[in-house]
């Protein structure tokens, strides 16, 4: 009797359906005295046995930083600042790069749910809000900014974009080969210190089908770190030391010049 040969063990598929994966060239940015911004390249690949049309969105979100913004108003012929409005929940750095304009990739509600794109950042100004009952409806959140809210919000984004801290790039994710893509993350010198959450989302037919998260750490290093910690942990001693340096160097210069 010849027993039929057993079929070879099937290769276990890792996950059914398409997946995305990505890696950063540099996950740790060291801010030293030579720091003049950084460029990080993100490489990734889309694994899809059926090769359906894919879109990739890369979102980088820096540490949250409350934003204080004021409006210039004219008072008695002089341009002065209004009382500042504090926006909370806004990141200190934000970048949305995609292979196509976001609005073509997914619907408004999907993007809103994922917080993908500058327009979907959950920014608000809690100090301007109060909860009241309106038209018999209880617990309605009313902002003192009223209809101007959008204008203030747009101004925050405009000013942050001008400082290269917010960016939207509709062609930021480029497919370099079949399934292989890359995106560049430009951190300006003013990029805040902290953890940057990077999210890579694969879209197919307007739905997110696979997500990956990576973290970039931006930290002060070397002398910069030491001085920063000194200034913040022992501020009074730091102040005394800096004054001593100033007075000593003034005194030294006058001694040196007297001898000449």
């Amino acid at each position: 009797m010849v027993t039929p040969a057993l079929p070879p063990p099937a290769i276990v598929a890792p996950e059914p359906g398409p997946t995305v994966s990505a890696a950063l060239t540099d996950a740790n940015v060291r801010v030293t005295s030579a720091f003049s911004g950084a460029q990080i390249v993100l490489y990734g690949a889309v694994f899809d046995p059926e090769t359906r049309p894919s879109d990739v969105v890369v979102i980088v979100r820096g540490p949250d930083q409350p934003i204080r913004i004021a409006r210039k108003v004219r008072v008695a012929g002089l341009w002065v600042n209004s009382r500042p409005v504090v926006f909370e929940g806004a990141p200190g750095f934000y970048m949305a790069a995609s292979s196509r304009p976001l609005t073509e990739i997914a619907s408004f509600s999907t993007l809103r749910r994922l917080g993908a794109g500058i327009d979907h950042l959950p920014m608000n100004a809690p100090e301007e809000e109060r909860i009241e009952t309106r038209y018999g409806v209880r617990d309605v959140v009313v902002s003192r900014l009223g209809g101007d809210y959008l204008e203030w919000r747009r101004a925050v984004i405009r000013l942050k974009e001008k400082a290269s801290l917010y960016a939207t790039d509709h062609e930021g994710v480029r497919f370099v080969d079949r399934g292989l893509f890359r995106a560049e993350i430009d951190l300006p010198t003013s990029a805040p210190i902290g953890e940057y959450q990077t999210e890579i989302i694969l879209f197919q037919d307007g739905e997110p089908v696979s997500r990956r998260a990576r973290t970039i750490t931006v930290e002060k290093a070397g002398l910069e770190r030491w001085l920063f910690l000194f200034a913040n942990e022992q501020p009074w001693l730091y102040g005394i030391v800096s004054v001593l340096i100033a007075l000593t160097s003034g005194w030294l210069a006058s001694v040196v010049f007297r001898r000449r």
Partner: protein, 306 residues
């Protein structure tokens, strides 16, 4: 060479900072002033956050004043007692000023107050100095005798209580006017990032009627004490002194101050005053200009939530 400043958190060219320090130090030594009113606006234009610029500049002014005060004191041109009284007022003023600045920053009005203070004080004093010194230069050219100085001291200076003798200045006056003057200059030094020499010097000449010989040295002595204190307070309360920025500035600053002090003997006092008046006036108008120009963007970010 670009260098990233640890507290200001911006990248600037180190060579330019040293050179700037030297130029401002030269002017400071030439005129016997701290030079803060020149340096602080330049730092702001370079993109240094206002809080850091003001605090670090106080440190730089302390250094360049220390560099030149020693040579004045060798020539017995410092009235230490008067300087001490002014500095006592200055200490109170600096304490108040640091708190006022902190509050203004929270209200988003720091920029406005800084611009307004520059416009008002520099504009006024620069204008007065220019008019007065150009007048006396013209009189000299025409061969007319210099205008008579009204040597009668105002009565209120003598009527006030707490009189103290100031032998070096040959004065016997109440301590109240110098203390008030000191407080005022201390507040300005914390808000504007200046030593306040441009206000102290004329005030000592025209209000306290001190002899011209001791005015500059005494003003520098008081500036050292006030700015050192302002610097420590800014570091302690606001963590806003950038030691790298201050050190780069004072590298050039202390040397420039020495050369400036030497060059000052080559010019006549009136011509120097006219030139200083012009520089002060231009600086004041330049800083105040922003209040009148329609802004490009009606919105402005007023510092992070730090």
């Amino acid at each position: 060479m670009d260098i990233y400043l640890p507290i200001a958190e911006v990248s600037v060219n180190a060579g330019i900072l040293v050179l700037l320090g030297a130029v401002v130090g030269f002017i400071s030594g030439l005129f016997g002033i701290g030079g803060g009113f020149l340096m602080t606006p330049i730092l702001l234009w370079m993109g240094i956050p206002p809080v850091v610029a003001v605090a670090s500049e106080a440190n730089h002014v302390a250094a360049s004043s220390a560099s030149s005060v020693i040579s004045y004191s060798r020539k017995r041109q410092v009235d230490f007692r008067m300087g001490g009284v002014l500095a006592a007022g200055g200490a109170v003023g600096a304490l108040l000023g640091v708190e006022v600045f902190r509050w203004l920053r929270l209200m988003g009005q720091a920029d406005l107050v800084v611009s307004l203070s520059y416009l008002i004080f520099l504009g006024l004093i620069g204008g007065l100095m220019l008019v007065e010194s150009v007048g006396s230069v013209l009189r000299q050219r025409r061969g007319q005798p210099p205008a008579k100085r009204r040597d009668r001291r105002p009565v209120w200076l003598y009527g006030l209580p707490f009189k103290v003798r100031f032998p070096r200045s040959r004065l016997y006056i109440s301590v109240i006017p110098p203390v008030i003057l000191g407080i005022f200059v201390g507040i300005l030094s914390a808000i504007m990032g200046v030593g306040g020499g441009f206000i102290l010097v004329p005030a000592m000449v025209y209000i306290l009627r001190m002899p011209a010989g001791v005015v500059v040295g005494t003003s520098l002595f008081q500036i050292i004490i006030t700015t050192s204190l302002a610097s420590i307070l800014q570091a302690g309360r606001n963590q806003s002194v950038d030691i790298v920025l201050a050190t780069l500035l004072l590298l050039g600053g202390v040397l420039g101050a020495q050369f400036g002090a030497r060059a000052s003997s080559r010019f006549r006092a009136e011509e120097l005053r006219a030139l200083l008046g012009l520089i002060v006036l231009i600086m004041g108008l330049q800083m105040g200009l922003v209040l009148f120009i329609t802004p490009e963007d009606p919105f402005i970010l007023v510092g992070s939530g730090k």
